[in-house]
C-alpha cells in the first residue's frame, strides 16, 4: 500500500523513526543530483546529501503538511548547498587565468565533424554551468521535477512573478549560451 509523505512523517514523529528510511529512499536521488550539480564531485555530493537528510530528520517536527515534503526537503538542500558554496569559494571563479588566455586548438580540421552534431544534452549541460546556480535550479525544479510555480517560489523565498521572470530569462540565457558555444566551436575538431 502506498503511503503519502505526510503519513510517513506523522509516523516518524510519533516515534517510529525507522520509517524515515522510506523518505530517504524516495528523495535521495534528486537531493544527490542537486548536490552533484553544486559540487561536481561524487564524494562531496554524497556527504552533503547525508547532511541534508540528517538535518531534515532533526527538523522534521517543523515540517507542515500544507507544503509538499519534496519542496520542504529541497529548500533545506538548497540552503546546505549554498552554505557549502560560500565556504568553498573556488579560486577558479576568482582568478580569470583561463579567460585571459587564448585557447589553442589543433589546426587539423575535419569538415565532417561539426559542433552542430554534438549531443544536445551535452550542450545544455555546458550551458547550465554558465548560468547562475539559482536560475539553473529554478529551471530544473520547474521542468525536470515538474514543481508548480507556487512551490518553486516557496523554496527560493521569492514571489511567483519573480519565478516566472527567472524562468523566462533563464531560458533566454540558455538559448543564447548554447548558440554562442555553437558559433564559437563550429568547425573545430579538438
Amino acid at each position: 500500500m502506498h503511503r503519502t509523505d505526510e503519513e510517513i512523517v506523522a509516523e516518524v514523529l510519533t516515534g517510529r523513526t525507522q520509517q524515515y528510511a522510506e523518505i530517504v529512499s524516495r528523495y535521495q536521488k534528486p537531493v544527490y543530483n542537486l548536490m552533484f550539480r553544486y559540487t561536481r564531485h561524487e564524494l562531496d555530493a554524497a556527504d552533503l546529501t547525508q547532511d541534508v537528510f540528517f538535518k531534515a530528520f532533526n527538523r522534521l517536527s517543523s515540517y507542515r503538511p500544507e507544503r509538499s515534503l519534496f519542496s520542504w526537503l529541497y529548500k533545506l538542500a538548497i540552503n546546505v548547498a549554498n552554505d557549502w558554496s560560500r565556504a568553498r569559494t573556488r579560486i577558479q571563479t576568482k582568478i580569470p587565468s583561463s579567460e585571459t588566455l587564448h585557447t589553442p586548438h589543433t589546426a587539423h580540421r575535419n569538415p565532417a565533424i561539426r559542433l552542430e552534431d554534438r549531443d544536445q544534452e551535452e550542450l545544455l549541460e555546458q550551458a547550465m554551468e554558465s548560468i547562475p546556480a539559482e536560475t539553473r535550479e529554478i529551471l530544473l525544479l520547474r521542468y525536470r521535477h515538474e514543481q508548480p510555480i507556487k512551490e518553486v517560489a516557496a523554496i527560493f523565498g521569492i514571489g511567483e512573478s519573480a519565478v516566472k521572470m527567472r524562468i523566462k530569462r533563464g531560458l533566454e540565457q540558455l538559448q543564447k549560451i548554447m548558440q554562442e558555444i555553437n558559433t564559437h566551436e563550429q568547425g573545430f575538431f579538438r
Binding site: 530517504v24 534528486p30 579560486i91 582568478i95 589553442p104 575535419n110 565532417a112 521542468y143 525536470r144
Partner: protein, 379 residues
C-alpha cells in the same frame, strides 16, 4: 545550425529529460546509519524541541508571542545572573581583563584574540574568536600564521577540537579549512602562500580536484611554467572530463605540451593522453584505453576513426594504428563490436597554438566518430 534550433520549446524539452546520476551504492544505508533511529518513546528533549519548532512557525498569535517574550526575558535574567557570578567568583581568562572583548566582532580583533589565546594555550577561547567565517574575512598574512598555530596539535587540546567539531564548524585541519585559506591568499595575490596551502591539501587528499587545479593556476600566475606544466599534467592524470579538464588541456597546449588531446566521441568531448597511446608501453596504453571504455560503450552511430601520424615512418604509424585497433577491440570484448576505421600518415601532425603559431608534431593521433543520422538531419 541556425538559432531556431534552440528555441524555448526545445530547451524546455531538454530540461524535462535532463539526465540524473544514480546515487552511489550504499548511500541510503550510510544516511540511515548516521541517524539516531529506533522505535522508542519520545524523550522530553525531543518533545521540547518539537514544541519550540512549532512555536517558532510563522503564525503570529498572542499566546505564542507572549510565550516568546517571556522566554527571552527569562533568558536575559539568567544571563545577567550567570555573568555577575562569574565576575565575582571565577578567574576569567586574561583576555577579559584587557578589555579586548569589547571589540569582539571585528574580524581583525577576533583574529588577534584567537592568535594570542592560542599562544597562551587557551585553545577553547581561541576557537571562539577564530571561526572559519572570521578567517575568511581576514585577508592578511596573519592567516598563514594562525593556520600554522592551529595546525600544531599541541596548541589546541583534543577536547577543544571535539567541541569545535560538535559546534558544526569544519575541522581546522580539514581540506575545507586549508582550501579557504589558500583561496584567500591567492585572492590577495599571495600565490606562494596559496601554493603552500594547496600542497598541504594535497598531502591530506592527493586527489582533491580544487587543489590540483588551483595549484596549477597559482604556478601560472607566478609565471613558473615548469611548475604549471607539471601541475596541469597531475590534474589531467586524475581528471579527464568537465570544463576544467578541457581548460587544463588548453593550458598545456599553450605551454607547447601536446601530450593530451581532446577528441569528439559520440558527440561528447573526451580527453586522451596521446603521448601514452603513441608510446611504446603496452600496459600504459592499455590503461589509457580503458579510460575510454565508457565513451566507447555508449551507442555510437557509424565507425570510430583512428588516425595516426608518425613523421617519416609510415610503417610505424601503421603498426601503432593497427595495435591500437586490436587493443580497443580486445578491451571492449565481443559484446561490443565497434567498427574502427584506421588511417596512418608519415607526415607530422599540424597544430596551431593560441597565439596563432603553427607547429608540427612529429607524432600525433586523432580519435573521433561521425555524427549520427539524427544529428545530421538537424543541420
Amino acid at each position: 545550425m541556425n538559432k531556431d534550433s534552440f528555441d524555448s520549446e526545445k530547451i524546455e524539452m531538454l530540461l524535462r529529460r535532463h539526465p540524473e546520476h544514480d546515487v552511489p551504492p550504499g548511500l541510503q544505508q550510510r544516511i540511515i546509519a548516521s541517524l539516531p533511529l529506533g522505535n522508542r518513546p519520545e524523550g522530553i528533549a525531543f518533545k521540547l524541541k518539537s514544541w519550540w519548532d512549532r512555536l517558532m512557525l510563522p503564525a503570529p498569535m498572542p499566546m505564542k508571542a507572549g510565550a516568546v517574550v517571556a522566554m527571552i526575558a527569562a533568558a536575559f535574567w539568567l544571563g545577567t545572573e550567570v555573568e555577575s557570578r562569574q565576575k565575582t567568583g571565577e578567574t576569567a581568562l586574561q583576555v577579559e581583563s584587557t578589555g579586548m572583548e569589547t571589540a569582539a566582532g571585528n574580524s581583525w580583533t577576533d583574529n588577534r584574540i584567537g592568535m594570542d589565546s592560542l599562544e597562551d594555550q587557551a585553545g577553547a577561547y581561541a576557537i571562539d574568536f577564530s571561526s572559519d567565517e572570521t578567517l575568511s574575512r581576514q585577508k592578511s598574512n596573519n592567516l598563514d600564521d594562525l593556520s600554522d598555530i592551529f595546525l600544531s596539535s599541541e596548541a589546541v587540546p583534543i577536547e577543544d577540537r571535539q567541541n569545535f567539531q560538535a559546534a558544526g564548524i569544519p575541522r581546522i585541519d580539514s581540506t575545507l579549512f586549508l582550501l579557504n585559506l589558500a583561496h584567500n591568499l591567492a585572492d590577495s595575490g599571495n600565490y606562494h602562500g596559496a601554493l603552500h596551502q594547496y600542497e598541504k591539501v594535497l598531502r591530506l587528499n592527493p586527489q582533491d580536484q580544487t587543489a590540483l587545479y588551483n595549484r596549477a593556476t597559482s604556478y601560472h600566475h607566478l609565471n613558473d611554467q615548469e611548475g604549471e606544466r607539471l601541475a596541469f599534467l597531475s590534474y589531467l592524470d586524475q581528471f579527464r572530463s568537465g570544463r576544467w579538464a578541457y581548460q587544463a588541456v588548453d593550458h598545456l597546449q599553450r605551454l607547447g605540451v601536446f601530450d593530451y588531446q581532446t577528441c569528439m566521441i559520440g558527440g561528447r568531448k573526451v580527453v586522451v593522453n596521446q603521448a601514452i597511446l603513441l608510446g611504446s608501453s603496452p600496459p600504459a596504453r592499455q590503461r589509457e584505453l580503458e579510460r575510454l571504455v565508457p565513451s566507447l560503450r555508449r551507442p555510437l552511430s557509424g565507425e570510430l576513426h583512428l588516425v595516426v601520424f608518425y613523421q617519416n615512418d609510415l610503417q610505424k604509424s601503421r603498426t601503432i594504428a593497427t595495435e591500437l585497433k586490436q587493443q580497443i577491440h580486445s578491451i571492449l570484448g565481443e559484446d561490443r563490436a565497434l567498427p574502427i576505421k584506421t588511417s596512418w600518415f608519415d607526415e607530422a601532425a599540424p597544430v596551431q597554438t593560441g597565439t596563432g603559431e603553427k607547429r608540427e608534431l612529429k607524432t600525433g593521433l586523432f580519435l573521433f566518430t561521425q555524427p549520427s543520422t539524427q544529428q545530421r538531419s538537424t543541420i
